[in-house]
Symmetry: D3
Subunit: 253 residues, 6 copies
Amino acid sequence: MEAARIDGRAPGGLRPITIERGVNRYAEGSALIRWGDTHVLCTATVEEKVPPFLRGSGSGWITAEYAMLPRSTQSRMQREINRGKRDARGSEIQRLIGRSLRAAVDMPRLGERTITIDCDVLQADGGTRTASISAGFVALFDALRTLKADGRLAEIPLKDQIAAVSVGKSGGALVLDLRYEEDSSADVDANVVMTGRGGIVEIQGTGEGAAFSRAELGQMLDLAASGIAEIQRRQLEVLGLTEDERRLFETCA
Amino acid sequence: MEAARIDGRAPGGLRPITIERGVNRYAEGSALIRWGDTHVLCTATVEEKVPPFLRGSGSGWITAEYAMLPRSTQSRMQREINRGKRDARGSEIQRLIGRSLRAAVDMPRLGERTITIDCDVLQADGGTRTASISAGFVALFDALRTLKADGRLAEIPLKDQIAAVSVGKSGGALVLDLRYEEDSSADVDANVVMTGRGGIVEIQGTGEGAAFSRAELGQMLDLAASGIAEIQRRQLEVLGLTEDERRLFETCA
Amino acid sequence: MEAARIDGRAPGGLRPITIERGVNRYAEGSALIRWGDTHVLCTATVEEKVPPFLRGSGSGWITAEYAMLPRSTQSRMQREINRGKRDARGSEIQRLIGRSLRAAVDMPRLGERTITIDCDVLQADGGTRTASISAGFVALFDALRTLKADGRLAEIPLKDQIAAVSVGKSGGALVLDLRYEEDSSADVDANVVMTGRGGIVEIQGTGEGAAFSRAELGQMLDLAASGIAEIQRRQLEVLGLTEDERRLFETCA
Amino acid sequence: MEAARIDGRAPGGLRPITIERGVNRYAEGSALIRWGDTHVLCTATVEEKVPPFLRGSGSGWITAEYAMLPRSTQSRMQREINRGKRDARGSEIQRLIGRSLRAAVDMPRLGERTITIDCDVLQADGGTRTASISAGFVALFDALRTLKADGRLAEIPLKDQIAAVSVGKSGGALVLDLRYEEDSSADVDANVVMTGRGGIVEIQGTGEGAAFSRAELGQMLDLAASGIAEIQRRQLEVLGLTEDERRLFETCA
Amino acid sequence: MEAARIDGRAPGGLRPITIERGVNRYAEGSALIRWGDTHVLCTATVEEKVPPFLRGSGSGWITAEYAMLPRSTQSRMQREINRGKRDARGSEIQRLIGRSLRAAVDMPRLGERTITIDCDVLQADGGTRTASISAGFVALFDALRTLKADGRLAEIPLKDQIAAVSVGKSGGALVLDLRYEEDSSADVDANVVMTGRGGIVEIQGTGEGAAFSRAELGQMLDLAASGIAEIQRRQLEVLGLTEDERRLFETCA
Amino acid sequence: MEAARIDGRAPGGLRPITIERGVNRYAEGSALIRWGDTHVLCTATVEEKVPPFLRGSGSGWITAEYAMLPRSTQSRMQREINRGKRDARGSEIQRLIGRSLRAAVDMPRLGERTITIDCDVLQADGGTRTASISAGFVALFDALRTLKADGRLAEIPLKDQIAAVSVGKSGGALVLDLRYEEDSSADVDANVVMTGRGGIVEIQGTGEGAAFSRAELGQMLDLAASGIAEIQRRQLEVLGLTEDERRLFETCA
């Protein structure tokens, strides 16, 4: 018999998720995700410039920044500026968010502009990077809508719908969407990012306590796919697509 | 005739203010203030240690940190860690918040512990420092309640109720509670912090474009006092005082 | 009966003040102020450029930097570069100095150039910020004279004479110009910056140990005004005004 | 027909690899790997202390640092200390190396000491992280031998043999061990870390240009497994195991 | 015929030098040197602690810090804290000052305490490092006197009198004590630190534009020795030695 | 009788030295020097730009950077980026290397380009700066050859051959080429940089424990000259000069 999860969820169950759009009056797109006790505020900022390596290329860029508020965690963490250096874990996470969301957009059609997705963790209980990607997609899509509404883009250069979830092996059982306590005691822990068609954009799996087999990886990907499908349904719901936009997503898929 | 304010308020009118308590599950106290379009998340963290200069003194300490999220403003601001140095304006503001809130608590009765008030601006439209002080007081009081509930304190070492507001002279008229646009064009701009009894804890007045007279300072303080009285009513409402706590506040006053 | 002050001064008495001009052979203006045991070296540097937000505006800028030498204090302080971060108190002070001295000059008439006032504290015994402002004004005026002498300015764009002093409440008595020992034990402590006409440019009052009343604030401003008038007399003496310059100051006043 | 690789290798072929042990006279273990044109110097340093979170636990720790020499790349890169901040990519890589090599050792049996694996890239042509892990294992094993030879450990606390390789999809074909040019144009790119028994310790797969399917992931893991088996043969050869040590590796496997 | 020097000095002439002692009321020793237009403020701070490598050794330590005020030079220099990194030239100079002054004191007899010599350049016109060493010695000796007066030392642990001067080859001629203009156009430039007996403590000679011969080095050392003898006379004059102290210096010599 | 050296060398003997050229496939020149147990990797990078002070001058620039790998020393050193500041000793050394190698090249004939010599110490046993200069010259000369081969230079703008060695006084005896143990216990320690004609480019001598006399300095320079002559023979051997290049060196000499 499987060990019960600390919050009584089924092994393949997600925590309650709500996404609120338009939470910031200045950002071109924004979303506040409450994924269980993990709360992340994502804003998408459009700037009419690109990094040096893209200047003159006609292509756009999407980048992300990730940070945790000092008391987003059980014990207060010192701010990066006071520690005097960038947090290595945060650097790694923001690179993952950036790569994942770049898969959502057709860069040449975006044109020479940069969209920066800021993901600020207000409260953390595991899964902050997958929450950031999943809500970051919503903020990003709203920023693309703003660009179209402003006449800066003729059409939304969507390439794919992007969402993410964590899976792991804890106490011998495979589980979806780990809370902090589950995550820190898990033997295996993976973060999976997928498109609307179920293609893998990113898989990062780590055997912290023990290596894992090809078969286990397969089971984890099954579990992740089911969770991501559910998160993508929520993204579409909250985005409230127009008919034209719906076709855009269907074309992707 | 006076010039109308950009949002139609009376010269002595406050913007709509709501304070939400208990918004962070880890912090000993927390409050999210929405003061017009200025939104600040305040958390109060208790740590059982004091800075070196207080070790062995038996006295406690209250300190504050203040930061703005990158897209809390019209144009995205770079994070301090990426600029590589502490923002001077932020340093000045967090010193003001710390000094102001230290006036709320009797340090020897707090004992050798530190309460850190983190004020993170989610969205800014002027008055972020006065919002931080006013909501910081609510988070601080809840942290003191937690210490009492935990048995770490026999009684709440409250010295005074603290709140703050801005006043200014804009277009020849004195106005209460300046929005960003009003503030950036004001000739005179002052931030006032007061106790529940109307004592001045801090006054910082600046004649950006023109010096001001003793009489004008007096009028600004009158306006500030009326605004702070209203904010203090909101603080008490949201705190939902018990009978014992009410007496505590009355003793202060 | 009032408590005697540690150096026997009357409550409204200033410490001995000397200002020496032209102490640096490279700077466009410079002044070394010895205000009791507080010694500050101020230099004014003119650069033919302005910060980004003023480019193309035709307006100039005045900014200040403030730092303390390691052994300007009783115990040696580590240099900022070795601590690895900007000192928050220093940041706050240099912002105050900059704002105060900007009130002295008519920026459009200064033209697109920046004057930087460096205030380096050689020895500190309280009142370093008011000494910096008071001597900074002298260095600044000499820099304006240099610009006129060089033919870069047709006339000196003076708007006002600026000086500053501290006042406080210590042991129940109001006192002018606090030394370090008085300042660190004061209940209330205010720094006041005024124009030659007695207008208030900046007032920063803090009730460190106790709040203060409107009446006390009024008394402190009276005391400050008398001290500032005396300091302004010293500034004029040391500047040795020409007839034309004297008229310039009278027009302000 | 498959496109030929730039250096004529078969899709599943490795570049020539040599590992030289004992290249540093001070380090407890060291290895210089020349993997095609990627050259990495790995040193293992033993220190009799552990990070705060392990003090008193009886358990040891393994950590890694990764850096590139300025001219390890086509264009000279500025040193991190001159850029003033930690390189985000480097932070991510050193976290991966550390996690991977921690899977090699039984921490409680290591005891309260830290082994730091420094991986300094002398020359880079793709695959620096997998070269670092593969050579880092050799340096680490030699450091464990040193601890045993010194009498600080009764036996070598080996848990598993660890090696790593990259795989990718480039121009429609799956390829093993990507050079820089292949890597930068690849659609899919994965780094795989495995134990001697073929268990997965870490998989990081990214669809830079296009998402990938479950089937493709499977094929990439097959390719990786064959490459890693070959690298593990090289590790054993260069380590020149004693009979006792050979049994140790067999027990793992 | 020799080219005349810009200020009409003889090739072996020193600029006018004055040293003022006791210029800082807090420091255990202090000296302000005005060496032509080079002005350096030196303070000596005693702290009852030593760096880690000397703890428990019974020996003391002498270290130096060197910095330039922003407007000590023709063009204003940015402060190190604002540039975000230690100035390399300054690091090199402060290491030289520290090494030179350590030669003045018998460390075991100093006991486990550190004397820090802060050398802050108020105005620079060449020779700031030799001025720092020469005035630093005066501040250091006064700090030793303070330790004796306080009863912390039974006798002054003087090992040698230390002074320094620059020499160079400019326009074909050997010259003593280079001003900035001479220094920046010199072909050869050396800084020499000597004891009261004429022993060499430090020689740093650089052929910026051309190498120099053994013979030229010899002539430069002759010139330096004569200049240093003169500076040492000034040090003794300003120190106003007691009979006991005079014997101390004679014993050195 | 002289004390024997720890490795049995004669007082004037050098450690075994090998220099390997072309060790980096990207750098315009590179050399790995193994000088006893001191191993330094030098790369020369050509960039078609100069520092601001040379723009438009037609002249080139040569600069150096010096760093030690963490485990180049007996105890592991923290990386500079993790300590958060530039190492002062390293700054001083790289300034010395840069100055020394600038003496090798005729800057106007180099043209407006910069050659950066990176000296990374893989293993240190004393004499890292002299090894860096001696091998840096080889890398630099190869970079000049590359520029000529590329047609960017018509001829190699060589001014002089540059090499360096350390000398010292240890246990009463003068010795050449100090190992770390000898260096750290030496009374006097000097680094000497010379041209092919025996001209002195740089002499840095320090009496750590005792001052030294003019006569001793002379003896040290004799010893250094003999060592440098030998190192210069090795440089020429490894460079494998063509007839034309040989004439170039002879013209210098």
